[in-house]
Assembly symmetry: C2
Homo-oligomer: 290 residues x 2
DNA sequence: ATGAAATTATACTAATGGTCTAAAAGGTGA
DNA sequence: TCACCTTTTAGACCATTAGTATAATTTCAT
Protein backbone atom coordinates (compact mmCIF):
# COMPACT_ATOMS: atom_id res chain seq x y z
CA UNK A 1 0.00 0.00 0.00
CA UNK A 2 1.83 3.02 -1.20
CA UNK A 3 -1.30 4.77 -0.14
CA UNK A 4 -0.42 4.19 3.47
CA UNK A 5 3.09 5.43 3.04
CA UNK A 6 1.73 8.58 1.49
CA UNK A 7 -0.58 8.93 4.45
CA UNK A 8 2.35 8.74 6.80
CA UNK A 9 4.35 11.24 4.80
CA UNK A 10 1.46 13.67 4.71
CA UNK A 11 0.94 13.34 8.43
CA UNK A 12 4.63 13.82 9.10
CA UNK A 13 4.84 16.79 6.78
CA UNK A 14 1.86 18.34 8.45
CA UNK A 15 3.34 17.95 11.90
CA UNK A 16 6.74 19.20 10.81
CA UNK A 17 5.14 22.32 9.42
CA UNK A 18 3.22 22.87 12.60
CA UNK A 19 5.68 21.94 15.30
CA UNK A 20 8.97 21.60 13.53
CA UNK A 21 11.09 18.55 13.04
CA UNK A 22 12.71 18.15 16.43
CA UNK A 23 9.53 18.76 18.34
CA UNK A 24 7.64 16.12 16.45
CA UNK A 25 8.11 12.68 17.91
CA UNK A 26 7.66 9.49 15.97
CA UNK A 27 4.74 8.80 18.25
CA UNK A 28 3.13 12.03 17.14
CA UNK A 29 3.42 11.00 13.52
CA UNK A 30 2.03 7.59 14.29
CA UNK A 31 -0.95 9.05 16.10
CA UNK A 32 -1.62 11.60 13.39
CA UNK A 33 -1.44 9.02 10.62
CA UNK A 34 -3.41 6.54 12.69
CA UNK A 35 -1.04 3.71 12.03
CA UNK A 36 0.99 1.56 14.35
CA UNK A 37 4.62 1.86 15.19
CA UNK A 38 5.42 -1.27 13.29
CA UNK A 39 4.03 0.17 10.09
CA UNK A 40 6.04 3.32 10.46
CA UNK A 41 9.28 1.45 10.90
CA UNK A 42 8.26 -0.83 8.08
CA UNK A 43 8.36 2.12 5.70
CA UNK A 44 11.17 4.12 7.23
CA UNK A 45 14.11 2.73 9.08
CA UNK A 46 14.29 5.84 11.20
CA UNK A 47 12.79 9.24 11.78
CA UNK A 48 15.54 10.69 9.65
CA UNK A 49 14.71 8.44 6.74
CA UNK A 50 11.23 9.80 6.91
CA UNK A 51 12.33 13.40 6.80
CA UNK A 52 14.73 12.62 4.00
CA UNK A 53 11.81 11.54 1.84
CA UNK A 54 10.02 14.75 2.63
CA UNK A 55 13.10 16.76 1.74
CA UNK A 56 13.50 14.75 -1.41
CA UNK A 57 9.92 15.49 -2.41
CA UNK A 58 10.54 19.17 -1.90
CA UNK A 59 13.67 18.95 -3.98
CA UNK A 60 11.93 17.20 -6.84
CA UNK A 61 9.05 19.59 -6.79
CA UNK A 62 11.45 22.50 -6.88
CA UNK A 63 13.37 21.06 -9.78
CA UNK A 64 10.19 20.38 -11.71
CA UNK A 65 8.78 23.86 -11.28
CA UNK A 66 12.10 25.39 -12.14
CA UNK A 67 12.28 23.45 -15.34
CA UNK A 68 8.76 24.46 -16.26
CA UNK A 69 9.63 28.10 -15.76
CA UNK A 70 12.33 27.92 -18.37
CA UNK A 71 10.38 26.25 -21.15
CA UNK A 72 10.38 28.40 -24.29
CA UNK A 73 12.07 31.17 -22.37
CA UNK A 74 15.29 33.04 -22.67
CA UNK A 75 17.81 31.55 -20.27
CA UNK A 76 19.44 34.93 -19.89
CA UNK A 77 16.26 36.48 -18.55
CA UNK A 78 17.11 37.60 -15.06
CA UNK A 79 13.51 37.67 -13.91
CA UNK A 80 13.14 33.99 -14.57
CA UNK A 81 16.19 33.21 -12.53
CA UNK A 82 14.76 35.24 -9.71
CA UNK A 83 11.56 33.27 -9.88
CA UNK A 84 13.44 30.03 -9.99
CA UNK A 85 15.37 30.87 -6.89
CA UNK A 86 12.27 32.11 -5.15
CA UNK A 87 10.49 28.86 -5.77
CA UNK A 88 12.85 26.92 -3.66
CA UNK A 89 12.79 29.46 -0.90
CA UNK A 90 9.04 29.48 -0.86
CA UNK A 91 8.67 25.73 -0.83
CA UNK A 92 11.13 25.38 1.97
CA UNK A 93 9.58 28.22 3.89
CA UNK A 94 6.05 26.95 3.52
CA UNK A 95 6.99 23.49 4.64
CA UNK A 96 9.10 24.68 7.50
CA UNK A 97 12.09 22.80 6.13
CA UNK A 98 14.66 25.53 6.60
CA UNK A 99 15.30 24.65 10.23
CA UNK A 100 15.96 21.06 9.33
CA UNK A 101 18.32 22.10 6.63
CA UNK A 102 20.21 24.42 8.87
CA UNK A 103 20.18 22.31 11.96
CA UNK A 104 21.53 19.27 10.27
CA UNK A 105 24.71 20.91 9.12
CA UNK A 106 26.09 19.84 12.42
CA UNK A 107 24.36 16.55 12.95
CA UNK A 108 26.64 13.68 12.24
CA UNK A 109 23.90 11.33 11.31
CA UNK A 110 25.37 9.88 8.20
CA UNK A 111 22.31 9.59 6.02
CA UNK A 112 20.67 12.88 6.70
CA UNK A 113 23.73 15.08 6.67
CA UNK A 114 24.99 13.35 3.56
CA UNK A 115 21.71 14.02 1.84
CA UNK A 116 21.64 17.63 2.83
CA UNK A 117 25.22 18.25 1.86
CA UNK A 118 24.60 16.79 -1.54
CA UNK A 119 21.48 18.85 -1.92
CA UNK A 120 23.24 22.04 -1.02
CA UNK A 121 26.10 21.25 -3.30
CA UNK A 122 23.75 20.68 -6.21
CA UNK A 123 22.01 23.93 -5.47
CA UNK A 124 25.27 25.83 -5.60
CA UNK A 125 26.25 24.21 -8.85
CA UNK A 126 22.87 24.87 -10.38
CA UNK A 127 22.89 28.50 -9.33
CA UNK A 128 26.42 29.02 -10.58
CA UNK A 129 25.44 27.73 -13.99
CA UNK A 130 22.36 29.87 -14.14
CA UNK A 131 24.35 32.92 -13.18
CA UNK A 132 26.54 32.26 -16.19
CA UNK A 133 23.41 31.98 -18.31
CA UNK A 134 22.25 35.35 -17.13
CA UNK A 135 25.44 37.34 -16.79
CA UNK A 136 27.43 35.88 -19.64
CA UNK A 137 30.34 33.55 -20.15
CA UNK A 138 32.94 35.85 -18.70
CA UNK A 139 31.18 35.29 -15.38
CA UNK A 140 32.19 31.70 -15.31
CA UNK A 141 35.36 32.00 -13.29
CA UNK A 142 33.56 33.69 -10.42
CA UNK A 143 30.18 32.07 -10.71
CA UNK A 144 30.72 29.57 -7.92
CA UNK A 145 31.79 32.28 -5.53
CA UNK A 146 28.80 34.34 -6.48
CA UNK A 147 26.45 31.43 -6.04
CA UNK A 148 27.73 30.69 -2.59
CA UNK A 149 27.68 34.31 -1.51
CA UNK A 150 24.24 34.76 -2.94
CA UNK A 151 22.80 31.82 -1.07
CA UNK A 152 24.40 33.11 2.10
CA UNK A 153 22.86 36.53 1.66
CA UNK A 154 19.44 35.16 0.89
CA UNK A 155 19.47 32.86 3.83
CA UNK A 156 20.56 35.54 6.21
CA UNK A 157 18.21 38.23 5.08
CA UNK A 158 15.30 35.85 5.24
CA UNK A 159 15.60 35.55 8.98
CA UNK A 160 12.34 36.73 10.42
CA UNK A 161 13.96 39.22 12.77
CA UNK A 162 15.69 41.16 10.03
CA UNK A 163 12.52 41.53 8.01
CA UNK A 164 9.56 40.78 10.20
CA UNK A 165 7.95 44.17 9.81
CA UNK A 166 7.77 44.68 6.09
CA UNK A 167 5.58 42.45 4.06
CA UNK A 168 7.79 41.65 1.16
CA UNK A 169 7.51 39.02 -1.49
CA UNK A 170 10.15 36.42 -1.98
CA UNK A 171 10.73 37.70 -5.50
CA UNK A 172 11.45 41.22 -4.28
CA UNK A 173 13.81 39.82 -1.73
CA UNK A 174 15.70 37.71 -4.22
CA UNK A 175 15.65 40.60 -6.65
CA UNK A 176 17.29 42.78 -4.04
CA UNK A 177 20.04 40.24 -3.58
CA UNK A 178 20.39 39.82 -7.32
CA UNK A 179 21.10 43.53 -7.69
CA UNK A 180 23.80 43.17 -5.06
CA UNK A 181 25.37 40.34 -6.96
CA UNK A 182 25.15 42.29 -10.17
CA UNK A 183 27.06 45.17 -8.69
CA UNK A 184 29.85 43.06 -7.32
CA UNK A 185 30.27 40.67 -10.17
CA UNK A 186 32.27 42.97 -12.47
CA UNK A 187 34.94 43.89 -9.98
CA UNK A 188 35.36 40.24 -9.15
CA UNK A 189 35.97 39.41 -12.77
CA UNK A 190 38.25 42.38 -13.36
CA UNK A 191 40.45 41.75 -10.35
CA UNK A 192 40.19 38.00 -10.72
CA UNK A 193 39.19 37.92 -7.09
CA UNK A 194 37.89 34.44 -6.49
CA UNK A 195 38.09 32.04 -3.58
CA UNK A 196 36.51 28.90 -4.83
CA UNK A 197 38.46 26.75 -7.19
CA UNK A 198 35.92 25.45 -9.72
CA UNK A 199 37.86 22.32 -10.44
CA UNK A 200 38.07 21.45 -6.82
CA UNK A 201 34.40 22.13 -6.39
CA UNK A 202 33.47 20.00 -9.32
CA UNK A 203 34.75 16.97 -7.53
CA UNK A 204 33.61 18.17 -4.19
CA UNK A 205 30.92 15.69 -3.55
CA UNK A 206 33.13 12.78 -4.31
CA UNK A 207 35.53 14.15 -1.77
CA UNK A 208 33.18 14.31 1.13
CA UNK A 209 35.03 12.71 3.92
CA UNK A 210 34.04 9.19 4.57
CA UNK A 211 34.51 8.15 8.12
CA UNK A 212 35.05 4.66 9.31
CA UNK A 213 32.09 4.92 11.62
CA UNK A 214 29.91 5.92 8.73
CA UNK A 215 30.91 2.95 6.64
CA UNK A 216 30.56 0.56 9.56
CA UNK A 217 27.09 1.87 10.27
CA UNK A 218 26.10 1.58 6.67
CA UNK A 219 27.34 -1.96 6.46
CA UNK A 220 25.71 -2.97 9.72
CA UNK A 221 22.38 -1.55 8.74
CA UNK A 222 22.60 -3.30 5.41
CA UNK A 223 23.27 -6.55 7.14
CA UNK A 224 20.41 -5.93 9.51
CA UNK A 225 18.04 -5.10 6.71
CA UNK A 226 18.65 -8.20 4.66
CA UNK A 227 19.50 -10.55 7.48
CA UNK A 228 17.01 -13.18 6.40
CA UNK A 229 17.80 -13.12 2.72
CA UNK A 230 21.54 -13.38 3.10
CA UNK A 231 23.16 -16.72 2.53
CA UNK A 232 25.75 -18.11 4.91
CA UNK A 233 28.76 -17.23 2.81
CA UNK A 234 27.45 -13.75 2.15
CA UNK A 235 26.98 -13.17 5.83
CA UNK A 236 30.51 -14.36 6.48
CA UNK A 237 31.80 -11.84 3.99
CA UNK A 238 30.02 -9.02 5.72
CA UNK A 239 31.09 -10.18 9.14
CA UNK A 240 34.68 -10.33 8.06
CA UNK A 241 34.68 -6.86 6.60
CA UNK A 242 33.08 -5.48 9.71
CA UNK A 243 35.67 -7.12 11.90
CA UNK A 244 38.61 -6.14 9.76
CA UNK A 245 37.48 -2.54 9.44
CA UNK A 246 37.08 -2.33 13.19
CA UNK A 247 40.72 -3.15 13.68
CA UNK A 248 43.10 -0.31 14.25
CA UNK A 249 45.03 -1.13 11.15
CA UNK A 250 42.90 -3.10 8.74
CA UNK A 251 44.97 -5.15 6.35
CA UNK A 252 44.41 -3.29 3.15
CA UNK A 253 45.15 -5.99 0.63
CA UNK A 254 43.17 -8.66 2.37
CA UNK A 255 40.24 -6.33 2.56
CA UNK A 256 40.53 -5.51 -1.09
CA UNK A 257 40.55 -9.13 -2.03
CA UNK A 258 37.58 -10.00 0.10
CA UNK A 259 35.55 -7.04 -1.09
CA UNK A 260 36.27 -7.94 -4.65
CA UNK A 261 34.89 -11.43 -4.37
CA UNK A 262 32.17 -10.09 -2.13
CA UNK A 263 30.94 -7.66 -4.77
CA UNK A 264 30.85 -10.41 -7.33
CA UNK A 265 28.79 -12.66 -5.12
CA UNK A 266 25.94 -10.20 -5.03
CA UNK A 267 25.71 -9.33 -8.69
CA UNK A 268 22.25 -10.70 -9.26
CA UNK A 269 20.57 -10.24 -5.93
CA UNK A 270 17.69 -7.87 -5.30
CA UNK A 271 19.78 -5.75 -2.99
CA UNK A 272 22.59 -5.36 -5.44
CA UNK A 273 22.03 -1.68 -5.96
CA UNK A 274 22.20 -0.82 -2.31
CA UNK A 275 25.20 -2.98 -1.88
CA UNK A 276 27.26 -1.33 -4.56
CA UNK A 277 26.78 1.90 -2.72
CA UNK A 278 28.11 0.41 0.46
CA UNK A 279 31.05 -1.32 -1.13
CA UNK A 280 31.92 1.81 -3.06
CA UNK A 281 32.25 3.57 0.23
CA UNK A 282 34.36 0.82 1.68
CA UNK A 283 36.64 1.14 -1.30
CA UNK A 284 36.92 4.85 -0.88
CA UNK A 285 37.60 4.50 2.79
CA UNK A 286 40.41 2.07 2.16
CA UNK A 287 41.94 4.22 -0.51
CA UNK A 288 41.74 7.36 1.52
CA UNK A 289 42.92 6.15 4.83
CA UNK A 290 45.32 3.32 4.42
CA UNK B 1 33.82 27.18 45.14
CA UNK B 2 33.86 29.15 41.95
CA UNK B 3 36.80 26.94 41.18
CA UNK B 4 34.50 24.01 40.78
CA UNK B 5 32.18 25.87 38.49
CA UNK B 6 35.11 26.79 36.31
CA UNK B 7 36.11 23.16 36.28
CA UNK B 8 32.69 22.23 34.99
CA UNK B 9 32.74 24.94 32.36
CA UNK B 10 36.14 23.89 31.14
CA UNK B 11 35.08 20.27 30.95
CA UNK B 12 31.91 21.19 29.12
CA UNK B 13 33.73 23.44 26.72
CA UNK B 14 36.25 20.74 26.03
CA UNK B 15 33.56 18.21 25.25
CA UNK B 16 31.58 20.63 23.12
CA UNK B 17 34.66 21.31 21.05
CA UNK B 18 35.29 17.63 20.63
CA UNK B 19 31.85 16.16 20.15
CA UNK B 20 29.60 19.14 19.65
CA UNK B 21 26.82 20.38 21.83
CA UNK B 22 24.04 17.97 21.03
CA UNK B 23 26.25 14.92 21.20
CA UNK B 24 27.52 15.79 24.62
CA UNK B 25 25.23 14.59 27.36
CA UNK B 26 25.08 16.07 30.81
CA UNK B 27 26.42 12.77 32.03
CA UNK B 28 29.46 13.19 29.81
CA UNK B 29 30.17 16.56 31.32
CA UNK B 30 29.73 15.21 34.81
CA UNK B 31 32.13 12.37 34.16
CA UNK B 32 34.69 14.63 32.54
CA UNK B 33 34.56 17.17 35.35
CA UNK B 34 34.49 14.43 37.95
CA UNK B 35 31.65 15.92 39.86
CA UNK B 36 28.22 14.61 40.72
CA UNK B 37 24.98 15.35 39.05
CA UNK B 38 23.80 17.35 42.02
CA UNK B 39 26.72 19.71 41.74
CA UNK B 40 26.12 20.29 38.07
CA UNK B 41 22.50 21.17 38.62
CA UNK B 42 23.54 23.27 41.55
CA UNK B 43 25.49 25.54 39.23
CA UNK B 44 23.33 25.35 36.14
CA UNK B 45 19.63 24.86 36.08
CA UNK B 46 19.91 23.05 32.77
CA UNK B 47 22.28 21.97 30.06
CA UNK B 48 21.28 25.07 28.14
CA UNK B 49 22.19 27.35 31.02
CA UNK B 50 25.61 25.79 30.91
CA UNK B 51 26.11 26.41 27.24
CA UNK B 52 24.79 29.93 27.62
CA UNK B 53 27.63 30.69 30.00
CA UNK B 54 30.11 29.33 27.53
CA UNK B 55 28.62 31.43 24.77
CA UNK B 56 28.63 34.43 27.03
CA UNK B 57 32.30 33.91 27.78
CA UNK B 58 33.05 33.79 24.09
CA UNK B 59 31.05 36.93 23.54
CA UNK B 60 32.86 38.82 26.27
CA UNK B 61 36.23 37.69 25.07
CA UNK B 62 35.38 38.78 21.56
CA UNK B 63 34.21 42.18 22.72
CA UNK B 64 37.33 42.67 24.79
CA UNK B 65 39.73 41.78 22.02
CA UNK B 66 37.83 43.91 19.60
CA UNK B 67 38.06 46.89 21.88
CA UNK B 68 41.76 46.36 22.35
CA UNK B 69 42.30 46.33 18.62
CA UNK B 70 40.86 49.78 18.28
CA UNK B 71 42.85 51.53 20.99
CA UNK B 72 44.82 54.47 19.57
CA UNK B 73 43.79 53.44 16.09
CA UNK B 74 41.90 55.02 13.28
CA UNK B 75 38.33 53.78 13.34
CA UNK B 76 38.17 54.15 9.58
CA UNK B 77 41.00 51.68 9.05
CA UNK B 78 39.50 48.84 7.10
CA UNK B 79 42.16 46.36 8.11
CA UNK B 80 41.24 46.74 11.74
CA UNK B 81 37.61 46.07 11.02
CA UNK B 82 38.65 42.96 9.17
CA UNK B 83 40.62 41.80 12.14
CA UNK B 84 37.79 42.57 14.47
CA UNK B 85 35.38 40.52 12.46
CA UNK B 86 37.87 37.71 12.13
CA UNK B 87 38.31 37.52 15.86
CA UNK B 88 34.78 36.46 16.43
CA UNK B 89 34.84 33.97 13.63
CA UNK B 90 38.02 32.44 14.94
CA UNK B 91 36.82 32.20 18.51
CA UNK B 92 33.59 30.61 17.45
CA UNK B 93 35.32 28.29 15.06
CA UNK B 94 37.91 27.17 17.54
CA UNK B 95 35.34 26.45 20.20
CA UNK B 96 32.99 24.74 17.83
CA UNK B 97 30.24 27.16 18.76
CA UNK B 98 28.97 27.83 15.26
CA UNK B 99 26.76 24.75 15.22
CA UNK B 100 25.10 25.76 18.45
CA UNK B 101 24.51 29.18 17.11
CA UNK B 102 23.03 27.95 13.91
CA UNK B 103 21.09 25.07 15.32
CA UNK B 104 19.40 27.06 17.96
CA UNK B 105 17.77 29.44 15.56
CA UNK B 106 14.98 26.95 15.49
CA UNK B 107 15.00 25.73 19.06
CA UNK B 108 12.18 27.19 21.03
CA UNK B 109 13.88 26.89 24.34
CA UNK B 110 13.19 30.29 25.72
CA UNK B 111 16.48 31.05 27.40
CA UNK B 112 18.92 29.85 24.82
CA UNK B 113 17.20 31.11 21.72
CA UNK B 114 16.56 34.43 23.41
CA UNK B 115 20.23 34.72 24.24
CA UNK B 116 21.35 33.85 20.75
CA UNK B 117 18.91 36.16 19.07
CA UNK B 118 20.09 39.00 21.23
CA UNK B 119 23.68 38.16 20.49
CA UNK B 120 23.13 38.06 16.79
CA UNK B 121 21.21 41.27 16.89
CA UNK B 122 24.00 43.01 18.75
CA UNK B 123 26.51 41.71 16.25
CA UNK B 124 24.55 43.15 13.36
CA UNK B 125 24.23 46.49 15.07
CA UNK B 126 27.90 46.57 15.91
CA UNK B 127 28.96 45.69 12.40
CA UNK B 128 26.60 48.24 10.89
CA UNK B 129 28.15 50.95 13.03
CA UNK B 130 31.65 49.91 12.18
CA UNK B 131 30.83 49.89 8.49
CA UNK B 132 29.78 53.50 8.84
CA UNK B 133 33.09 54.20 10.59
CA UNK B 134 34.98 52.73 7.70
CA UNK B 135 32.95 53.73 4.67
CA UNK B 136 31.67 57.11 5.81
CA UNK B 137 28.47 58.66 7.02
CA UNK B 138 26.67 58.43 3.72
CA UNK B 139 26.76 54.67 4.27
CA UNK B 140 24.46 54.91 7.21
CA UNK B 141 21.20 54.32 5.43
CA UNK B 142 22.37 51.02 4.01
CA UNK B 143 24.69 49.91 6.77
CA UNK B 144 22.24 47.50 8.39
CA UNK B 145 21.56 45.80 5.10
CA UNK B 146 25.25 45.52 4.42
CA UNK B 147 25.94 44.13 7.86
CA UNK B 148 23.32 41.44 7.47
CA UNK B 149 24.43 40.51 3.98
CA UNK B 150 28.02 40.47 5.04
CA UNK B 151 27.41 38.12 7.93
CA UNK B 152 25.44 35.88 5.63
CA UNK B 153 28.25 35.74 3.10
CA UNK B 154 30.88 35.08 5.72
CA UNK B 155 28.89 32.33 7.32
CA UNK B 156 28.18 30.65 4.04
CA UNK B 157 31.65 30.82 2.61
CA UNK B 158 33.10 29.46 5.81
CA UNK B 159 31.40 26.14 5.31
CA UNK B 160 34.11 23.56 5.13
CA UNK B 161 32.87 22.12 1.87
CA UNK B 162 33.17 25.34 -0.03
CA UNK B 163 36.71 25.94 1.05
CA UNK B 164 38.17 22.76 2.39
CA UNK B 165 41.00 22.55 -0.07
CA UNK B 166 42.65 25.92 0.18
CA UNK B 167 44.36 26.85 3.36
CA UNK B 168 43.21 30.35 3.84
CA UNK B 169 43.34 32.63 6.84
CA UNK B 170 40.24 34.04 8.37
CA UNK B 171 41.51 37.53 7.62
CA UNK B 172 41.88 36.76 3.92
CA UNK B 173 38.43 35.34 3.90
CA UNK B 174 36.85 38.32 5.61
CA UNK B 175 38.91 40.61 3.40
CA UNK B 176 37.47 38.91 0.36
CA UNK B 177 33.96 39.52 1.62
CA UNK B 178 34.84 43.08 2.54
CA UNK B 179 35.84 43.79 -1.05
CA UNK B 180 32.48 42.44 -2.15
CA UNK B 181 30.69 44.74 0.23
CA UNK B 182 32.79 47.65 -0.91
CA UNK B 183 31.80 47.09 -4.49
CA UNK B 184 28.11 46.90 -3.79
CA UNK B 185 27.82 49.65 -1.26
CA UNK B 186 27.85 52.58 -3.68
CA UNK B 187 25.09 51.37 -5.91
CA UNK B 188 22.99 50.69 -2.85
CA UNK B 189 23.43 54.25 -1.67
CA UNK B 190 22.87 55.75 -5.11
CA UNK B 191 19.71 53.85 -5.82
CA UNK B 192 18.55 53.98 -2.22
CA UNK B 193 18.10 50.27 -2.44
CA UNK B 194 17.58 49.14 1.12
CA UNK B 195 15.44 46.50 2.74
CA UNK B 196 15.97 46.94 6.43
CA UNK B 197 14.30 49.82 8.11
CA UNK B 198 16.80 51.08 10.69
CA UNK B 199 14.16 52.40 13.01
CA UNK B 200 12.33 49.16 13.05
CA UNK B 201 15.55 47.32 13.67
CA UNK B 202 16.45 49.55 16.55
CA UNK B 203 13.46 48.29 18.49
CA UNK B 204 13.77 44.81 17.22
CA UNK B 205 14.81 43.14 20.37
CA UNK B 206 11.97 44.56 22.37
CA UNK B 207 9.61 43.11 19.83
CA UNK B 208 10.71 39.53 20.08
CA UNK B 209 7.54 37.57 20.43
CA UNK B 210 6.73 36.51 23.92
CA UNK B 211 4.92 33.23 24.16
CA UNK B 212 2.77 32.11 27.01
CA UNK B 213 4.89 29.04 27.50
CA UNK B 214 7.98 31.18 27.79
CA UNK B 215 6.46 33.37 30.49
CA UNK B 216 5.13 30.39 32.38
CA UNK B 217 8.52 28.76 32.33
CA UNK B 218 10.20 31.90 33.47
CA UNK B 219 7.78 32.32 36.32
CA UNK B 220 8.02 28.69 37.36
CA UNK B 221 11.78 28.72 37.39
CA UNK B 222 11.75 31.92 39.39
CA UNK B 223 9.44 30.32 41.93
CA UNK B 224 11.63 27.27 42.02
CA UNK B 225 14.77 29.30 42.52
CA UNK B 226 13.52 31.30 45.46
CA UNK B 227 11.14 28.79 46.92
CA UNK B 228 12.61 28.96 50.40
CA UNK B 229 12.85 32.70 50.60
CA UNK B 230 9.35 33.44 49.43
CA UNK B 231 6.73 34.32 52.01
CA UNK B 232 3.32 32.71 52.02
CA UNK B 233 1.52 35.62 50.41
CA UNK B 234 4.19 36.02 47.76
CA UNK B 235 3.90 32.38 46.88
CA UNK B 236 0.16 32.73 46.61
CA UNK B 237 0.61 35.57 44.18
CA UNK B 238 2.84 33.53 41.96
CA UNK B 239 0.60 30.50 42.16
CA UNK B 240 -2.37 32.56 41.17
CA UNK B 241 -0.66 34.11 38.18
CA UNK B 242 0.50 30.71 37.02
CA UNK B 243 -2.99 29.30 37.30
CA UNK B 244 -4.66 32.21 35.64
CA UNK B 245 -2.20 32.33 32.77
CA UNK B 246 -2.71 28.64 32.19
CA UNK B 247 -6.39 29.18 31.56
CA UNK B 248 -7.55 29.44 27.99
CA UNK B 249 -8.81 32.96 28.50
CA UNK B 250 -7.03 34.55 31.45
CA UNK B 251 -9.05 37.34 32.94
CA UNK B 252 -7.04 40.33 31.88
CA UNK B 253 -8.11 42.84 34.47
CA UNK B 254 -7.84 40.52 37.41
CA UNK B 255 -4.36 39.58 36.29
CA UNK B 256 -3.40 43.18 35.96
CA UNK B 257 -4.61 43.95 39.44
CA UNK B 258 -2.81 41.02 40.97
CA UNK B 259 0.42 41.69 39.17
CA UNK B 260 0.32 45.27 40.23
CA UNK B 261 0.14 44.48 43.93
CA UNK B 262 2.50 41.60 43.36
CA UNK B 263 5.19 43.87 41.94
CA UNK B 264 4.83 46.21 44.90
CA UNK B 265 5.24 43.41 47.38
CA UNK B 266 8.70 42.61 46.14
CA UNK B 267 10.14 46.10 45.96
CA UNK B 268 12.81 45.57 48.57
CA UNK B 269 13.63 41.91 48.23
CA UNK B 270 16.96 40.60 47.00
CA UNK B 271 15.38 39.05 43.96
CA UNK B 272 13.65 42.22 42.95
CA UNK B 273 15.66 42.71 39.81
CA UNK B 274 14.97 39.29 38.42
CA UNK B 275 11.35 39.63 39.27
CA UNK B 276 10.84 42.87 37.40
CA UNK B 277 12.06 41.10 34.31
CA UNK B 278 9.51 38.37 34.73
CA UNK B 279 6.63 40.67 35.49
CA UNK B 280 7.55 42.90 32.59
CA UNK B 281 7.13 39.90 30.35
CA UNK B 282 3.83 38.99 31.93
CA UNK B 283 2.67 42.53 31.23
CA UNK B 284 3.79 42.34 27.65
CA UNK B 285 2.13 39.01 27.18
CA UNK B 286 -1.16 40.33 28.53
CA UNK B 287 -0.99 43.43 26.38
CA UNK B 288 -0.09 41.56 23.25
CA UNK B 289 -2.45 38.67 23.45
CA UNK B 290 -5.61 39.63 25.21
C1' DA C 1 -10.06 -21.16 1.13
C1' DT C 2 -5.35 -20.70 1.89
C1' DG C 3 -1.01 -18.78 2.65
C1' DA C 4 1.90 -14.84 2.52
C1' DA C 5 2.40 -10.14 3.46
C1' DA C 6 1.04 -6.08 5.83
C1' DT C 7 -0.61 -4.19 10.03
C1' DT C 8 -1.69 -3.82 14.81
C1' DA C 9 -1.13 -3.40 19.79
C1' DT C 10 1.87 -3.50 23.07
C1' DA C 11 5.76 -4.56 25.78
C1' DC C 12 10.49 -3.66 25.83
C1' DT C 13 15.38 -1.42 25.69
C1' DA C 14 18.64 2.20 26.15
C1' DA C 15 19.70 6.94 26.36
C1' DT C 16 18.55 11.35 27.71
C1' DG C 17 17.52 15.65 30.66
C1' DG C 18 16.22 16.52 34.87
C1' DT C 19 14.49 15.90 40.08
C1' DC C 20 15.04 14.39 44.67
C1' DT C 21 16.98 12.66 48.86
C1' DA C 22 19.77 11.06 52.46
C1' DA C 23 24.20 10.92 53.73
C1' DA C 24 28.96 12.61 53.79
C1' DA C 25 32.44 16.17 53.62
C1' DG C 26 34.15 20.72 54.44
C1' DG C 27 34.56 25.05 56.39
C1' DT C 28 33.68 28.55 60.10
C1' DG C 29 32.88 30.85 64.36
C1' DA C 30 32.67 30.18 69.36
C1' DT D 1 36.83 20.79 69.81
C1' DC D 2 32.07 21.22 68.98
C1' DA D 3 28.06 22.76 66.62
C1' DC D 4 26.19 24.47 62.57
C1' DC D 5 25.71 25.45 57.85
C1' DT D 6 26.74 24.87 53.05
C1' DT D 7 28.48 22.12 49.37
C1' DT D 8 28.97 17.86 47.40
C1' DT D 9 28.07 13.16 46.53
C1' DA D 10 25.96 8.85 44.89
C1' DG D 11 22.45 7.00 43.18
C1' DA D 12 17.57 6.11 42.90
C1' DC D 13 14.01 7.90 40.37
C1' DC D 14 10.90 10.06 36.52
C1' DA D 15 9.23 11.14 31.86
C1' DT D 16 10.27 11.28 27.16
C1' DT D 17 12.28 9.59 23.14
C1' DA D 18 14.01 6.59 19.15
C1' DG D 19 13.97 2.31 17.98
C1' DT D 20 13.28 -3.14 18.51
C1' DA D 21 10.69 -7.24 19.02
C1' DT D 22 6.80 -10.20 18.94
C1' DA D 23 2.57 -12.40 18.77
C1' DA D 24 -1.88 -11.79 17.08
C1' DT D 25 -4.82 -10.14 13.54
C1' DT D 26 -6.22 -8.25 9.09
C1' DT D 27 -5.80 -7.91 4.09
C1' DC D 28 -5.49 -9.68 -0.23
C1' DA D 29 -4.07 -12.15 -4.31
C1' DT D 30 -4.21 -16.69 -6.10
Amino acid sequence: MLNKKRKVLIAAQHLFIEKGFTDTSVQDIIDEAKISKGTFYNYFSSKNECVIEILENAREETALKRRELLVYQDISDQRILIEQISIRMKIYRDRNLMPIFVAIFQAQDSGLSEFIKKNHYEEIKWLAERLVDVFGKQTKKVSLDCAVLMLGMIQQIQHPWTLKSKQISMEELVGFIMRRVESMIDSMIDTNDSLIDPHRFENFYEDVEITKKHVLDQLKSFKQQYLDELKENELQHIEFILEELSLKKPRKYILEAVIHSFSDTFKKTSYHKQLTEVTANVWKLIDETY
